[in-house]
Structures are given as C-alpha cells and as structure tokens.
C-alpha cells in the first residue's frame, strides 16, 4: 500500500487464501471427492473517480506490485469522468481480526467419515424402483483474508463454512419429481464447523424425502387459482433474496448493474417513504448474525460489520451499500456490503444476511391452524424474476392443500407469481422466532466477470393472501 499511496487517490489490497472441499454420492456410488486451493492478491485503485482492479496469484511482494501496476494502468486507460467525483463515505480504518467459531474443523475430518454419512443417507433414499436418482452432498469452504488500505486499515479474517444435503428424484412415464432436504439445490451451508453438517442427520430424513418424491408422481396438480399461500421458511428466504435483497442493492438502484444483473423498481428517493409491504414486514441486513454466510468482521473495503434496517413496518428504511454509493446518495456510512469472490474478483455490493424478522404467528402448525383455506408450499424448485425485481414466478417441489386449518392432499408442480410490492403487501402473518432460522444461498450470481457469493437469509414460515398460483 505504500507503493499505491502516491500513485492513486485511494488503494486497497486483499490477500486471500481460499480452500474448498466437496464430497458427494449419486445412486449409491461415490460421485465426487475434490479439494481446491488458491491464493493471490486483489489490488483496487481509484484514480480520478475511475476504479482499476487487478489480480495476481501467489503471496510474494512482486505479485502484489505487478497487480498494483496493472490496476493503475487499467484505471488510467478509461475515459475521464466528467463532473464532480464523490468522495468515499468515511470509515475508521479496520484494525483487528475475526474468525468463525468452529467446534470441529471440517477440513480435518477424514473423507471416509463424510462418505459414510452420505452413503447412509443415499442408501436410505433408495429401494422404490421409481426413485431414479439419489444424491447426497458435503461441502466445506475456508477463506483466510488480509486487508489493508492507503487509509491505514489492516485486518485479518478466517471464515469457515460447512454443510450438506440430499435429494431424491422419482420418475414415471410422464413425470419427474424431486424432493430435497434440508433445502433445495443441493444443500444447506452455514458459517460453522463440521458439527453443523453432522447435526443435519441426513439418514434419518432420507426415507421421508424419497416417499414424498414418489408420492408426487401421482399427486393431483396444483390448481390455477387466486388463493392464500403459506410458504415454508426456505421459500420465504428465497422470496426475500430475489424481491427484497437484490432490489435494495444500491448499485442496482443507481443504475450501476444495468449491464448484467439489472436495475431496481426502487429509487434512492424512496428511502423512508416507499410502502414496500404490509406492517408485519420487517427486514434487516445484519452482518453480525451467528452462522450466517454473510457474517464477517469487516467487508472487503474495510467497513466493520453492522446491522442495517431495510424495511420497518412495511416502509423502506435502508439500502445495501458501499462507501462510494453511500456517499453518492448522502448516507453517513456505508452499509458494509462490499465483497469479492476469492482474490481475483473486484468487491461489489452483495447481500449480507438479509433477514425477514420473526413475527407473532407462533409455529408453522399454529399458522396452518389459523388458515381456513389455501396452499402450503415448500422447498424451491425454480425461480425467475425480471431485471427490475418486480414481476416474479417461483415453483416449489411440493405443496399441500390447507382446509379448515389442516394440511390436506399433496399437490404436484406448485407455482406462484406476483409483483413485488403487491405481494409483500399481502403478507399478513410471520411465524415467531421458534420457527425462524438462517437459510444459506451459495449461488448468488452478480458482477462481470461473474461472482457467485454466499449469503444467508433469516426467515420463518409466512402467509400471503390472494396470490395467483398454478401458473406453470
């Protein structure tokens, strides 16, 4: 950073050493056992308002200096920015260290132990001839980061994530149906050690997962109608992710992501006035929640982790922001949301743990009992939303009728659609903290070149009124 100080308005550097391990089974056989390691420098400079970022592998001084020289050359080659260049929002230089609390280091557990748990789960899903595919997964990640800047920041972080999951796919001549546990799309991962994976108890849940997949083959289809829906916590988490989290990323709001991820129906001037949802809707972006994939000591531009109110009693109260975008709309401080994937990607605004706060509707059983008629939908199967985060369509793996406060028939191919503010305005009940938990998302894609970020969402089952279902 000493070399960068005199040649740029601002510079920072991250050295990141990343490790990952994945183990999986498929139809009772070992499918994948793989280990990844990489390390390098990511150097970011700001010259006349233009950013330059360069990445170089390794840990030697020469690599860092090479990256600095290229970052400066790239920044200087871009068209000059006309008008006033906004200063970065002030932040006390990051100092100190952060480390994930871990009981059992997942990288120290023998591969055979992981394979044994996965094989048990995989085997427990098989038996019915209609089960065509079973999979079970384990994943672990570790990032060791050092960050420093020309403003005097220097901090170290060690972040460990671990989790797993399984799925069963049943087929018939006309249908393919899948059930997953504990969540859709492979697995559920938390910022934790191996103890999190072991606590999933995959083998115990496996028979139910397979039975539901088979039952879906002959279940009646989800009807096309406007009705009440109750979403399980995981689907609420995805709903928050797609229609709240992305929509309040300040780079999107300001038009900076129009090239790829898109823009937002929310504008900066909506702060404090936009009726985002009903009065029971409270959303917080909190980078301090234990076990969250968006939890850290400092973000990747040195802003200390903190909680940012996003929606309070249905009204927009905050954005996910960076030092640059926060300053641009006059916020006093960045929301601390800048993260980059590994060492070779430039930090951009990402979700931390964007949580729908628990309500007072009791447990899931209480919520179902309080619902006369509707559909309970569980476990995401597909998702799509427009580039302004307004019109969406989601499908889940399974659904059940709700009749007179009880769950009824299983329904296949459930789906629902809506428009973001109207949908959230129809929220009338959220289960309480006993039903609330964090759900991890590993594949949040954004940025160019692309970055897949790990984020979490706290959510509990919730009820929405007058929703169009059966659209696909």
């Amino acid at each position: 950073m000493d070399a960068g100080a005199g040649r740029s308005d601002y510079a920072d550097v991250r050295h990141v050493r990343s490790s990952a391990e994945t183990v999986s089974t498929r139809n009772g056989r070992v499918e994948l056992v793989r280990h990844w390691e990489e390390e390098g420098f990511g150097v970011r400079v700001r010259i006349g308002g233009a950013w330059g970022f360069a990445a170089a592998r390794g840990h030697e001084r020469a690599a860092a200096e090479d990256a600095l020289a290229r970052a400066i050359a790239v920044a200087e080659a871009q068209p000059r920015i006309s008008g006033q260049v906004v200063a970065l929002a002030p932040e006390a230089p990051a100092q100190g260290s952060y480390s994930t609390p871990v009981e059992i280091d997942p990288f120290e557990v023998p591969l055979e132990d992981k394979l044994a748990l996965l094989s048990q789960a995989d085997a427990a899903m098989r038996g019915d001839a209609r089960i065509a595919l079973t999979t079970a997964h384990f994943d672990a990640y570790r990032d060791e980061k050092v960050f420093c800047s020309t403003e005097g920041a220097y901090c170290e972080q060690r972040i460990v994530e671990c989790g797993g999951g399984m799925s069963a796919t049943a087929t018939s001549d006309s249908e393919t149906q899948v059930r997953s546990y504990p969540g859709a799309h492979r697995e559920q991962v938390s910022q934790a050690g191996y103890e999190h994976f072991a606590a999933l108890r995959l083998a115990e849940e496996a028979p139910r997962v397979a039975e539901e997949a088979v039952a879906l083959l002959t279940a009646p289809p989800c009807p096309a109608e406007v009705t009440t829906i109750v979403l399980n916590g995981e689907q609420v988490a995805l709903q928050v992710h797609e229609s709240v989290g992305h929509a309040v990323e300040l780079d999107r709001v300001l038009g900076r992501e129009a090239s790829y991820a898109g823009t937002s129906f929310v504008s900066a001037s909506d702060l404090g006035s936009l009726q985002y949802g009903s009065p029971v809707m409270n959303v917080t972006a909190d980078a301090t929640v234990a076990e969250g994939l968006g939890t850290f000591g400092w973000d990747d531009e040195g802003v200390a982790a903190h909680a940012v109110p996003i929606v309070r009693e249905g009204v927009l109260r905050g954005f996910l922001s960076s030092r640059e975008t926060a300053a641009e709309i006059g916020l006093e401080r960045s929301g601390g949301c800048m993260r980059g994937e590994g060492f070779s990607r430039q930090p951009i605004i990402r979700m931390t743990n964007v949580n729908l706060e628990p309500g007072d509707a009791g447990t899931l059983d209480d919520l179902i009992a309080d619902t006369d008629r509707g559909i309970y939908m569980a476990t995401n199967r597909s998702w799509s939303i427009d580039s302004r985060r307004l019109q969406f369509q989601f499908a889940t793996e399974a659904a059940w009728e709700i009749r007179d406060g009880r769950l009824g028939r299983l329904l296949r191919n459930p789906s629902y659609a809506g428009v973001t503010p109207q949908f959230w305005a129809s929220l009338d009940a959220v289960c309480d903290r006993s039903a609330w938990r964090l759900w991890g998302v590993l594949n949040c894609g954004k940025g160019e070149p692309g970055q897949a970020m790990h984020v979490s969402h706290g959510a509990a089952p919730a009820r929405f009124r007058e929703v169009q279902v059966g659209v696909a």
Binding site: H35, W36, G40, L111, G262, I348, S384, G450
Partner: protein
C-alpha cells in the same frame, strides 16, 4: 513444449502413480471493463492459472486443484487428489469410471489473435468512449462491458494424451437506457478484438431505446413471435444443457430420453455442436482430452445424438463425444459448448415479421430457468427491446413480458429462420474463463406462451 504443457507434465509426475492420472493447466489473462450511465465503473484484470490433478483408483476419480506451481504445491495437490480417490475406493468398493481416455489425434483450430491476447486496456477505453459518444447523441445512457482474454489450456494424462490450445475471445455488450426507462441491447462476440465494432453496437442499442411512444401492456396469452438470435441462443443453450446432456439422457431425466430417432421439433430445425465452425469460438478437445468433433443433435427436426463424456457414455454403452466439462465427468453431466443452428431462407428479422398479424418481437430473454426439465418447460422474461408486431410491422414498444413455455415446443412451432446465423454469447464468465457461444439465426414461431 509450451510452459503450461510443461507445467501440466510436472503436475502429472507429482501425483502418486496408480490406475491413471490426468493433469490440466488453465492459464487466464483477461481484462474486463464495465461501464454504467456512460461512465466507467469497474475494471478487472486477471492473471492467474489453475492446476487440476485427477487421480483414478479402482474406478473412482479424485480431484484437487491449486494455483501454485512450485514442486511442493504440485506434490501436495497430487497427494490430495490421490487421497480423495483412495478414500472413495475404500468407502464404496469398485467404482464405475472406465478410465481416462487413450490419446487421439487432436484437430487443429483457428482463431487465435495476438492483439486480443495482449489484453491492452487502451482499445477498451476507446471502445467505451465511442459508446458514450453515440449514447449522448441519441439522448440515452450506455451500460455494458468490453472484455478480452487469452486462455491457454494444457492437458496431459498417464494414458499418453498431451495437448494444448490457446483461445482468445473478445466481447462487448451495450445496453442503452432512455430517460423514460426504455432500454435497447446489442452485443458482439468474436475471437479477435478488431472485429468488435463499439460504435455500431451502440447505434443498434440506442435505436431500440430511443423510441418515442410509451410501451403498451399486453395481456397474457399465446402470441406469434420473432426472436432475435440472442433470444434464440438462450433457448438453445437450455436445450443443450438439459435435453442433449448425456448424463440426463442416461438417467432418463432428459426431454429426449427415449426419443432419439424421432421427430421432436419442426422439420426446418437442424442443430449441431460444431467445435470448428468458422464463426464459433473454436475448441479442439474436452476436459478429458477427447477430440471435439461435429455432433449432429437434431437433423430435419429429428433428435439424433446426445453429448457424452466418458462416464455418461459408459452408462449407455456409447463412446465419449468429446463433451466432458470435468475429468471423470461433472455432476452436471456432458453438454455441448459450440452449438450451431442452421439458418433458413429469410433475409432478416423484418421479413420474419411480415406474415404476423399481431405478435411480439423479442430482442433477448432474461433470467431463464427450467421449471420442469423433462418437459423443457422454461420460464423467463423479455428484456431490452420488446416490441409489438402488427400487420407485419413493428408497431411500437411493449412492456417486458414473462414467458412460460417449452423450448422444444417453441422450436416445434418454428416456421422460418433468417439465412445468416451469428455468434451470440451472454458474456458470463464465472470461475476460470471458458468463452463459448451459440451460432444461430433469428426465428419466427407461430406461438409462444406468455404468462404475465
């Protein structure tokens, strides 16, 4: 011997001997400039490599990777791969992977461009400047990226495979947004940066954005459509990934499982994976060192072949078609990476629109995901240039719409194609850069189902 090939050989030798070993080195040097609202926003220069070692033990493949190249790191990587394979063998007995493929003659490819390989930021800055100037002239703002890369892949195996290829690619995307929010899109992919015409792209995007009338909102329903090549390529990519995926086919999860040799789409549809098609980002071998050869997927509307890697091929007593995306087989399966859809007889998209009394003109599709892969039922939205067609002409802009329809169904309802397919790409580069695209024309389909 190139330096990456030499490094791959050292990695191979660093791994403990056993039933087989395969080492791959991928070296990426890339530059990507982003811009928004006619200002530069981010710029990323990457100089990195990945060493992948795959080790075979008793029918199980273990893998490990590193971006360090010193002997100790290579040895550690080799040991990790061997430990992974041995753990699998101890835990599950014999596996079903038949072994790394034997050496075959690797075909030559064209398209490497020295200027592109230099990853010089100066032409990029000039391209951005040109786009900004055009946007200003049209009263709109420009958003997008300009990017170039040189990626060398070297692969050696204990069976005697030894080969490398260097691939350059250049890509620019321009999205122009008018003050009222209307947007237009244009993008270009090529092997050489000199082929990228920033000014022309910006003019095309600006023309779509700078329309004077307000967009109308159309009700859900079925509409005749004209899909520009970027929209067609999205459907074809999904089809390649899910329907012509050899693993999905072997596991009977594919929409064409049991339908090879049968007509699945309109007779005018001819789709192939053509790795050395002149307008493609050309490739000579896959992730297991198997030569990539042309593979007919659909001929005259009849499903013909699927893409296999060594593992998926073994499941159906076939041979690899050179479509492995990971040594030993990716969990996702084997997928075509050089799709080419043969053109038809229409001179341009305007001619395609002419017979349509009332329909929709789609520039591109966005956030497309499978709803039910076995039916190839997809959902997504139109974006950056959606227009109403009335009486054979573009009548004005419409609000973006959601479609929920089968990709196979849309191709079955295809009536006409333009004569000149173009290389399209979405310019997405997650992980180590692997440039690829779809060569396809625009098409007209008699109906496409829009759901909102």
């Amino acid at each position: 011997m190139s330096r990456p090939l030499d490094l791959a050989q050292r990695a191979l030798e660093a791994a403990p001997p056993g039933d087989g070993t395969l080492a791959t080195v991928t070296v990426e040097r890339s530059l990507l400039l982003r811009y928004a609202r006619s200002r530069p926003t981010q710029a990323t220069a990457i100089d990195d490599l990945t060493v992948d070692i795959a080790v075979l033990r008793d029918g199980h493949v273990g893998g490990a990777s590193t971006n360090e190249t010193d002997p100790e790191s290579l040895a550690a990587c080799g040991r990790a791969a061997a430990a992974a394979a041995e753990a699998a063998a101890r835990s599950a007995g014999s596996g079903d992977y038949p072994g790394f493929p034997p050496p075959q003659k690797l075909p030559a490819r064209d398209g490497y461009d020295e200027d592109t390989a230099r990853a010089d930021p100066v032409p990029g800055g000039a391209a951005l400047g040109a786009a900004f100037e055009v946007a200003e002239r049209h009263g709109v703002e420009a958003h997008g990226i300009w990017t170039v890369a040189d990626v060398e892949t070297a692969l050696v195996s204990s069976t005697g495979v030894s080969g490398s290829e260097s691939v350059t690619d250049a890509y620019m995307k321009v999205i122009c947004i008018a003050p009222g929010g209307r947007s237009g899109y244009a993008a270009q992919t090529a092997a050489a940066v000199s082929e990228i015409d920033a000014q022309s792209l910006a003019e095309d995007a600006a023309a779509k954005a700078a329309v004077s009338s307000d967009p109308v909102r159309l009700p859900a329903g079925e509409y005749a459509v004209v899909l520009e090549p970027h929209a067609v390529s999205e459907l074809l990519s999904m089809l390649g990934n899910y329907a012509f995926n050899g693993l999905a086919y072997a596991e009977e999860r594919s929409a064409i499982s049991g339908r090879l040799g049968k007509r699945v789409v309109a007779a005018g549809i001819n789709l192939a994976d053509s790795p050395r098609f002149p307008r493609q980002i050309q490739r000579s071998f896959d992730a297991e060192g198997v030569p990539k050869e042309p593979l007919p997927l659909i001929q005259d509307g009849v499903a013909h072949r699927v893409a296999h890697d060594t593992r998926s091929a073994a499941k159906v007593c076939a041979v690899s078609t050179g479509h492995a995306i990971a040594p030993g087989g990716s969990p996702f399966g084997a997928v075509p990476t050089n799709l080419v859809l043969t053109g038809g007889g229409a001179s341009d998209a305007a001619e395609l629109a002419r017979p349509i009394e009332r329909g929709i003109y789609v520039t591109r599709l966005w956030y497309v995901n499978p709803v039910r892969p076995k039916e190839m039922l997809l959902t997504g939205v139109t974006r950056d240039g959606t227009f109403l067609i009335e009486d054979g002409e573009i009548a004005g802009p419409v609000e973006d719409m959601r479609f929920t329809d089968s990709a196979i169904g849309i191709l079955d309802r295809t009536e006409a194609l333009t004569s000149m397919p173009v290389l399209t790409s979405d310019g997405e580069f997650y992980g180590r850069r692997y440039a690829h695209g779809v060569v396809c024309p625009a098409l007209r389909a008699s109906a496409m189902r829009f759901t909102g």
